[in-house]
Amino acid sequence: MITIKRFTVQPVHLWIALLLLVLAVGTVAYGIVMVKGLSVTNLSDLVPWGLWITIDLSAIALSAGAFTLCAVVYLLGLKQYEPVARTATFIGLIGYSMALLTLLLDIGRPDRFWHAIVYWNTHSLLWEVSMCLTLYLCVLLLETAPLFGRAEWMQTRFPWISNKMMSIHHLAPFLALLGLGLSMLHQSSLGATYGVLIARPIWYKPGLSVLFMFSAMVGGPALMVLITKVSGRLSPRAKVDDTLLEKITLFIGWGLVGYIYFRFWDAFSMTYTYEPGRSEALSMMTSGPLAFNFLVGEMLLGAIIPAILLLVPRFRKSWIAQVVALTLVVGGVVAYRWDVNMSGLLVILTYLPQEITTIYTTYFPSMIEILSGLGVVAYGALAITLGVRYLNLIDHRGTEKEVVESPVIIAGTD
């Protein structure tokens, strides 16, 4: 008898197959958008930004774990978080590439994407954001280079390149610094992109930059811990040290409390006076079409419940409670981005003299928008799954040693 080595189907194979399927469908939808243009969307001159901008903003916000943890490790000097920062950096790289893919989809002339880098209007918030995105993507590529270089298949097949890539690790503190600066700039500026527009009263306030920054600093680490915890449970390749994550979840919990505080006053202070456009947009969020999303999705599920789950020690000890809480935080960040974008766009101020009135419009993404968006998300999930499998992305063992053996000396300081 000839014995055939049988390929056993594991759950992870089904998961990858599912992602590939969604990715394939998404790629077709993406292609349709590229060929047919944005007429296949439900976007209009009244609502020019919709689902894609939400995915884009969310992907960037949820990548914020990268700069936060790199700053913690290399600038605050809490070296024990180095392996966690490594995971966060990889998630950041994938998140930013997702954002760029979505942006490419969203602009009317994807063939001119490079204009954003070549032609400068330094007064534009979006110019600043695109500059930061480009530069920060470079930073992330350098920050993740050692991770790729350390992979076994890299070391055996391309030892020279592998060594070079690993040696970039020496630059980590500089990259962390650069990443911190660039991230603080563009995470806030994405809020300011909305916040500087006087034509949209619900947006026109400095608070948006603060809230975007704050929610990113909570949501980014939340996604990182979530992915780590789930991988640790599902994949034997992920070696998770729960005590290392404990402090981070505590930080996320307290971060949520701060976020609730800011968001509460942001919304509450707007209830005091009637301002055309702004008051209508606010009531849209408290009792109109965005009410469920704002009150339930963003505040209750997205912030209050996870804050409780992460701060009460009894829940923090439970794996399931933590995973639920972190998932809710991630959902809350997405809901916040959606609410910000929609509340400003669905209420339109007329410019007729004497009477400033508001009119309402609606938006629901088209099937093509949804499928192409899902395709981008599937790409991200697939990349992270493969990262966990083949890049030793989550490995919390023996961490002290590595960091110590590569001290960084700045020329000129000695």
């Binding site: 032609y119 534009s124 695109s130 500026s189 034509a199 007729l352």
Partner: protein, 256 residues
């Protein structure tokens, strides 16, 4: 060794702080947006008399023909502005060509820019179609080309002949005060606002002369005289955009 580490950290902190501050400064606008792009003796403006406007929509159609605008887009909309007494009032709305234009500040590639003569121009070769300007404009004056405009223009030839190239799919477009007519007219020694050939098509087409165009820098121009002698308003003056389109309001004494 310990001492060195602290120095390094301080140095890094200083750098972090510095880079954030430097980045912030870059965005701060220290000069007025209207000062960009060389100098010009002219400052073009439009005065629209609401008391005269009958809402016929000739301006919209003429604009479509001369600027080769797709039927689903209007650079020049005529809005219903309610009633005064028994009279229906209209509000024709071209681009306001704001002195402090939100769209010019918003555009990341500088495809929306101020000409020296104040016209807010679009560089259709630069525009990447991000639509931030549409979100920023308080007047809804901008339209995105969701589809490519192919085939004949229904407004041609009845309402005029195209004078500018058609815009491709995927860019934002808007009223340009018919810069092509102004520029060609000036070269021929004509006076925009006086000579029809050098005046925006909508102003020429208006059958009752509700629109006036001219140089706001010239105190003798019709537009300057009109806004000197009449009460006027600009749309959403409260926003501080300083539109260069002025309206003479319908008044009871004019309608009766």
């Amino acid at each position: 060794m310990e001492e060195k580490t602290i120095q390094r950290r301080d140095f890094l902190k200083f750098l972090a702080f510095g880079s954030v501050v430097a980045g912030g400064l870059r965005l701060t606008r220290l000069t007025s947006a209207s000062e960009t792009g060389g100098s010009s003796p002219y400052r073009w403006g439009m005065v629209i008399d609401q008391a005269k406007c009958t809402g016929c929509g000739h301006c919209t159609l003429t604009c479509r023909a001369h600027n080769d605008v797709a039927p689903e887009i209007s650079w020049n909309r005529v809005l219903d502005a309610g009633k005064i007494g028994d009279q229906q009032v209209y509000l024709p709305r071209p681009c306001m060509h704001c002195e402090e234009a939100p769209c010019v500040d918003a555009c990341m590639v500088g495809a929306s820019y101020h000409r020296a003569d104040g016209i807010v121009m679009m560089d259709y070769d630069k525009c990447i179609g991000c639509r931030y300007c549409e979100v920023a404009c308080p007047y809804g004056a901008r339209a995105f080309n969701w589809e490519s405009f192919t085939g004949p223009n229904p407004a041609v030839p009845e309402w005029g002949q195209p004078e500018v190239p058609r815009r491709p799919r995927g860019v934002v477009e808007k009223c340009s005060f018919c810069y092509q007519r102004i520029d060609r007219g000036l070269k021929l020694g004509l006076k925009p606002g006086v000579d029809e050939e050098a005046t925006p098509a909508c102003v020429v087409a208006c059958p009752i002369g509700a629109r006036n165009f001219g140089d706001l820098n010239d105190p003798e121009s019709e537009v300057s005289i009109l806004i000197k002698d009449n009460p006027y308003f600009q749309l959403r003056e409260d926003l501080g955009t300083s539109p260069r389109v002025y309206y003479l309001p319908t008044r009871e004494e004019v309608t009766t």
